[in-house]
């Protein structure tokens, strides 16, 4: 027959490639378990995901180099979902047949809720950033640290303390500004009730779309309403951009800004706008700034990535915490059921026994238990001073704001 033409051959090639599904058989000789991360490496929260997943990956590399957990090695799979639910679900379905997939880290509130029913059906452990909803309705989903609303409650306590320390009487007015999506609104589901409980008036919250380039309108409204403190949500560089816009309007002189867990980090936000961020307080459940860089595990940054310490993002050691939990859980699960019978259910039981696990000091001690899905209970406050992030308090227990809200 005459030449079939490039087009036809191309179609055959594509179908061959589609049919070729690489399985985990290349690892068949060794004993492996799998950890899947549905992350966003090129979209809105890439600033957080890329260093964090670098952390987990390097932690697992180090673990495997030491021989794994009793000879069982860990395989890390990271998928770029670009914050898109459909892509995340399809990636999950693609990888759920991997050898002994035990834990799925769904790094996004929306993706976490979409993949939730699927992991529940497959009985796999799932991690999500901080939605209190998963503490209120306990299932197989674990939160990384204290819930978002708990951190907001802790911030409100700090605000009250700071207000009194400045010698002012009465109560301060607190404003809230964050992304217009489930993550942004989660803080107030419990946070609002806590503010009422301690008598701090919360101004009407402002929400802007994740891709917004300019926040002056929202900030002007909060300023006109008389805010003394503004809590800015969003994943770095968003809070940096918000505070930058506030600085341009001259608001940073009269209003104290606070950020949440994913607030300005030294290599990204603080490096970009040091003068605008001067004095900003950051709520955090993991070590930041110099404390993070001096931690022994930060040495892996130089070892595996070969980049200077100044570029170390604080989220890098935080990512390793997931690896630590996984390692500990794996140890317990292997002791309980052994490798052959190891599955998601066993890991789920193991995770609930992680109460008190120290996580090498990067966060407060682990708080997973049969009744708690919180990763830890403690919060530390940091402040940006002269382009550095320094601690201003010790580890404090965050109040329980999840129980105040009806889910």
């Amino acid at each position: 027959m005459r030449k079939a033409g490039g087009g036809f051959i191309f179609i055959i090639l594509v179908s061959c490639l589609l049919l070729w599904t690489p399985k985990g058989d290349s690892w068949a000789q060794e004993k492996t378990v799998t950890y899947l991360s549905l992350a966003d490496y090129t979209g809105p929260i890439a600033g957080l995901n890329v260093p964090a997943d670098m952390g987990v990956e390097d932690y697992f590399k180090e673990l495997n180099a030491r021989g794994g957990v009793e000879g069982v090695k860990v395989k890390f799979i990271g998928v770029d979902t670009r914050y898109d639910v459909a892509r995340a679900v399809s990636a999950y379905k693609r990888y759920r047949t991997e050898t002994k997939l035990l834990v799925v880290n769904a790094i996004s509130t929306g993706i976490g809720k979409a993949v939730g029913p699927l992991t529940a059906r497959d009985k796999i452990v799932q991690l999500v950033p901080g939605d209190g909803e998963f503490q209120a309705k306990r299932g197989r989903v674990f939160i990384w640290g204290p819930a978002y609303q708990d951190s907001f409650a802790a911030a409100l306590d700090w605000i009250l303390g700071d207000w009194k320390a400045r010698g002012k009487s009465g109560v301060p007015k607190v404003g809230f500004i964050s992304w217009d999506n489930p993550y942004g609104k989660e803080f107030l589901r419990g946070g609002r009730e806590y503010a009422e409980k301690i008598g701090v008036p919360l101004l009407k919250p402002e929400f802007f779309p994740p891709g917004a380039l300019d926040h002056t309108v929202y900030l002007t409204r909060l300023a006109t309403a008389g805010a003394n403190y503004i809590f800015a949500g969003g994943v770095d560089p968003t809070p940096t951009n918000v505070i930058r816009d506030a600085h341009k309007l001259g608001l940073t002189k009269t209003i104290q800004f606070l950020a949440d867990y994913w607030g300005p980090t030294e290599p990204v936000g603080v490096r970009a706008h040091p003068e605008a961020l001067e004095g900003t307080v950051i709520t955090s459940y993991y070590l930041r700034g110099e404390e993070a860089k001096k931690h022994p595990l930060a040495a892996l940054w130089k070892k595996y990535r070969g980049k200077p310490y100044e570029d170390l993002n604080e989220v890098y050691p935080n990512g390793m915490v997931w690896g630590m939990d996984f390692e500990e859980g794996l140890k317990i699960a292997l002791k309980d059921v052994g490798y052959e019978k190891l599955n998601g259910e066993a890991m789920f039981q193991a995770y609930q026994k992680l109460t008190g696990f120290k996580r090498q000091g990067i966060t407060g001690p682990n708080a997973y238990s049969p009744t708690s899905r919180r990763g830890s209970l403690e919060i530390k406050f940091y402040r940006v001073k002269s382009a550095k992030v320094i601690p201003v308090t010790e580890w404090k227990k965050a109040p329980d704001a999840v129980s105040l809200h009806k889910f």
Binding site: T42, P44, D180, F207, V217, T220, N241
Partner: protein
Amino acid sequence: MTNFLQLAITGLLTGGLYAMVGAAIVLVYKSTHVVSLAHGQFLAFGAFFFYIFISVLDLPFWAAILLTFLVAAAIGLAAERFSLRPLIGQPLFSAFLMTFAIFMTMDGIFQLILKGETRTLPHFLSTETLSVGGLNIPTGGILSFGVALAMFSLLGLFFRFTKVGLGMRATAEDHQLAQSTGISVRTIFSIVWIVSALVAAVAGISLARVMDIHYPLPWIGVKGLVVALFGGLDSLPGALLAGLILGMLENLSAGYLDPLVGGGVGDVAAYVMLLLILLVKPFGLFGLKRIERI
């Protein structure tokens, strides 16, 4: 009242930048009758290359600007040569889709390079704010607005007094007639794309100074398109006016309507305005009405 003025003035300043992007699109449409969506990416890449020259390579300001112009011109030329030149003779809608495809490709590359981070430009304009009667007006913003106005006047002079400019206006009227007087229409096309890429680069640098180089930056190109449509696709003064109106409208509607509706009015305002304009006066404020024959 101060609230109104504050919102209006910041809106006006941003509107000047939108007007520049709209001008780039109008420029291309006037000569080639192709509506370009790709200019959003031109402005993002212009800003990004400026960042590389001024921050990473630490070149002096004017050298960085010059090099950025060279790179932007190269990008514009490449886009025209490799993707739009083959489409001469095809229906104009294909060319529109092609600019769309260029936008998508460059968007992918932009995301790959940026990896979700933000890059900030160093402060080459002053960062103080003037406090005039209770209003906070950033001086840097006024300077950028001035640059935008200067750019518009330069373009106006270019079209009136230079040979190339006159050639472009002739091509805009009728390709056949222009060719018959000896103007090489293909060269004009290339020049048009180069000049519009330069305008987009200037707009990109001004926008990035305010908004940082972040992944949504290229989508300002769509706002530029709204501006161009509003003002009339073949009218430069229309683009200026429409840009200013759009900037003010966004800020004012966000300021006053947000509390009533619950947020997010700012982005939708531009599109509602676009829809109304397309339904009421499809050719824009100053555009020429086209009569269609069977």
